[in-house]
């Protein structure tokens, strides 16, 4: 599905990820059909759609997390800064350092807060000594708005934090490896409203440095945090455009039905 406004945008904003005719198969199931989408740098892009529509699947294609599923097969082109991420020469490990991910359920490692954040920088050799590592950890925790709460108990286990704090810890962990793109798969679905609003504010701040792609079930959330919204339905990308446009004046009747709560 071609969207005219996308082409208009290409003129103004820098493109980060370009996906063309992406197909994903899980065994015999055709989960994603012909999805083409352009994701801009320093923008929050929201993927919305009913459960099982393929938005999370598509998100996981962007950092090749689908590689871990034996039966999954991806076709089509996904370019990050013009380079095909499914090229044979690409090592998914390097890709994932550039494209960080935050998962639906907060999943801190059962280690200390410090070790959680320091793990990524350590395995990528980003710090030469302890002082540098400390600094990376502090910056990441500050970015994730967790520093004030966590600075006195960096040695406490990450799993002992509250749900919202755990999710922010996971964001800090993703941010610590200095990615260029941050993928978030329903980051607030396990959080209460207060924690949700904290994470949303955080996403808005992160936009200054990263290209953020967020999958969400809450249309209010998509409307609040994103600049661009893509609506998925039954594996198809139905509509993609400015968030305001999608929510106020959708082109496709399916989008309108979903937004008004008639399908989904």
């Amino acid at each position: 599905m071609k969207d005219l406004r996308t082409t208009e945008q290409e003129m103004t904003a820098e493109l980060k990820i370009t996906a063309r005719d992406v197909q994903v198969f899980y065994g015999d199931t055709h989960a994603i059909k012909d999805v083409s989408v352009d994701i801009e740098d320093k923008t929050v892009t929201a993927f919305i759609g009913p459960s099982g529509c393929g938005k999370s699947t598509f998100l996981r294609c962007l950092n090749r997390m689908n590689d871990t599923i034996d039966v999954a097969r991806v076709e089509g082109d996904i370019l990050l800064d013009g380079e095909d991420i499914y090229d044979k020469k690409v090592d998914p490990v390097q890709l994932r350092a550039k494209v960080g991910m935050v998962f639906q359920k907060p999943n801190p490692f059962p280690k200390s807060i410090y070790d959680n954040v320091a793990y990524g920088p350590k395995i990528h050799g980003m710090a030469r000594n302890k002082a540098e590592l400390d600094e990376i950890v502090e910056t990441a925790l500050r970015r994730a708005a967790l520093w004030d709460e966590a600075k006195d108990r960096l040695d406490a286990p990450g799993t002992g934090l509250s749900g919202g704090q755990q999710q922010r810890l996971c964001i800090a962990r993703a941010v610590a490896t200095a990615p260029e793109v941050l993928l978030m798969d329903e980051p607030c679905s396990a959080l209460d409203p207060i924690a949700t609003s904290q994470v949303e504010e955080l996403i808005d701040e992160l936009r200054a440095n990263y290209s953020v792609v967020i999958v969400t079930h809450s249309m209010q959330q998509a409307a609040r945090v994103s600049q661009k919204t893509a609506f998925f339905h039954l594996g198809n990308l139905v509509e993609y455009g400015e968030t305001g446009q999608i929510f106020t004046n959708p082109e496709d009747p399916r989008t309108e039905s979903y937004i008004t709560g008639r399908i989904g």
Partner: protein
């Protein structure tokens, strides 16, 4: 909504009735539940009764093995007889065999009897020999060779009583039971009673049952489990050293890296099957491969360890895979998500979380191997090993030895009822080891169990 309820109510009216009386259905349901609970309690009760019967039988029969009857004898080490050259040279002292010591000892005992003024029908020193273990002369001889300068002194020894005398003090041997026994007469038992009253014969804790080596058929009082315990120890070293790394490596590969296809399915089925193969099959395999084909020494703990490794591997692989599987996939996602390679994700995150489960499985596997007897019978680790302790590591692995359960089996086969008691005593020691290992496994699991 209101319409719907109204139309539903028409065919069968809402049930009326007090909550305070139970209707028939509820009563029947509750009765069924109560019956089921009763069956459960009965099942647990039967299990407990068996357990109590087992434990009390073991303790009742085996506790005697930890006590032994000793006779205090003061022996005059006559230099005339023991060192005819009179030069105190150990080489010359060795030339006097235990037969040279026998007269000295029996005279010492006889002298003691007369000194105490005990009235007995025994008239010559020759007859008191039946009170003492056949090991007594060797004990004195070893002392003399070790301390040649004590020749000419009168030295007090604590000598093992013969197994009949020991059995008499433990109520195993009675005056009726010795009616046709060539080794001992009622006269001896009378003498034993008198000596016990005088404090010369007494029953004390028997450390050498735990530390000693096996003894011949006629010296049950001397036999101990120590050497076969070392045999088991060296076997367990082999089992641990081989099965833990091989088992963990195999299960990590199968669980985390191997592609899912027919071949890995086949391997998986076979591992489960191997876990159910009777242990004697592994024994004959070990006999064919390790001894007949590879010519490894017979009866060696090394071979026993190899055979038990084959047997333990499936257990360890199955429990390791189960504990790897129980690590939530979100941890793997998290590690991969920050750009860890598959191996980093496994070794930094999954393996540490699975470790308590792996260790528990390993300890349970080892405990199983420790109690395993059948394969050892086939590779000859059940011989009569009355030698002393292995000196050094190499001899520990390669010299013929026995293992605890095999030693127990061997004792249980022997004719002297004193050995029967020792077999039960050996079972107690074996069970103590197994219980300790299981408790360690439980503590490890409790301590390292993580919640997420």
């Amino acid at each position: 909504m209101t319409d719907a309820t109204a139309s539903n109510a028409a065919p069968d009216a809402p049930r009326k009735g007090s909550l305070l009386d139970q209707d028939d259905r509820t009563r029947r349901r509750n009765a069924a539940e109560a019956r089921f609970k009763a069956y459960g309690i009965a099942a647990v009760g039967v299990g407990l009764v068996f357990l109590i019967a087992l434990v009390s039988a073991i303790i009742f029969n085996g506790v005697g093995a930890f006590q032994q009857t000793f006779v205090d004898v003061e022996v005059y080490l006559d230099p005339e007889k023991l060192d005819k050259q009179g030069n105190r040279d150990p080489a010359d002292l060795r030339k006097v065999s235990t037969f040279g010591y026998k007269p000295l000892i029996r005279e010492a005992v006889f002298a003691k009897v007369q000194e105490l003024g005990i009235e007995t029908e025994i008239e010559s020193a020759n007859e008191v020999e039946a009170l003492l273990s056949a090991s007594a002369p060797a004990q004195v001889r070893d002392f003399v060779i070790a301390n040649p300068d004590r020749l000419g002194d009168t030295v007090a020894f604590k000598m093992l009583a013969s197994s009949r005398v020991d059995g008499y003090l433990k109520n195993r041997v009675t005056r009726d039971s010795i009616a046709r026994d060539k080794n001992i007469d009622a006269v001896h038992l009378d003498l034993t009673d008198a000596l016990r009253d005088a404090g010369v014969v007494e029953k004390t804790f028997n450390l050498s049952f735990i530390t000693g080596s096996d003894a011949s058929e006629s010296r049950a009082e001397q036999a101990g489990l120590g050497v076969s315990m070392l045999g088991s120890f060296f076997m367990m070293l082999v089992v641990l050293g081989l099965s833990l790394p091989i088992g963990v490596a195999a299960s990590i590969y199968l669980e985390e890296f191997a592609p899912q296809n027919k071949f890995t399915d086949l391997i998986e089925v076979n591992i489960s099957n191997l876990a159910a193969v009777p242990s004697i099959v592994f024994g004959i395999l070990g006999l064919a491969v390790f001894i007949q084909f590879m010519h490894l020494p017979q009866s060696a703990p090394l071979v026993g360890g190899l055979v038990l490794t084959l047997m333990t591997l499936p257990t360890i692989i199955i429990s390791t895979r189960a504990s790897l599987k129980s690590v939530p996939p979100s941890i793997r996602d998290a590690a991969l998500g920050v750009g860890a390679s598959k191996m980093q994700a496994v070794f930094h995150h999954v393996l540490p979380l699975a470790m308590p489960g792996i260790l528990t499985g390993t300890i349970i596997g080892l405990a199983q191997a420790l109690g395993e007897t059948a394969p050892l019978l086939l590779i000859g680790m059940v011989g009569y090993i009355a030698t002393n302790y292995p000196d050094g590591l190499a001899s520990g692995f390669l010299d013929p030895n026995s293992a605890m359960p095999a030693q127990i089996y061997e004792w249980a086969k022997r004719a002297d009822p004193a050995y029967y008691e020792r077999a039960w005593g050996g079972i107690i020691i074996l069970l103590v080891f197994l219980l300790t290992m299981n408790i360690v496994a439980i503590i490890l699991r409790r301590r390292f169990e993580r919640r997420w």
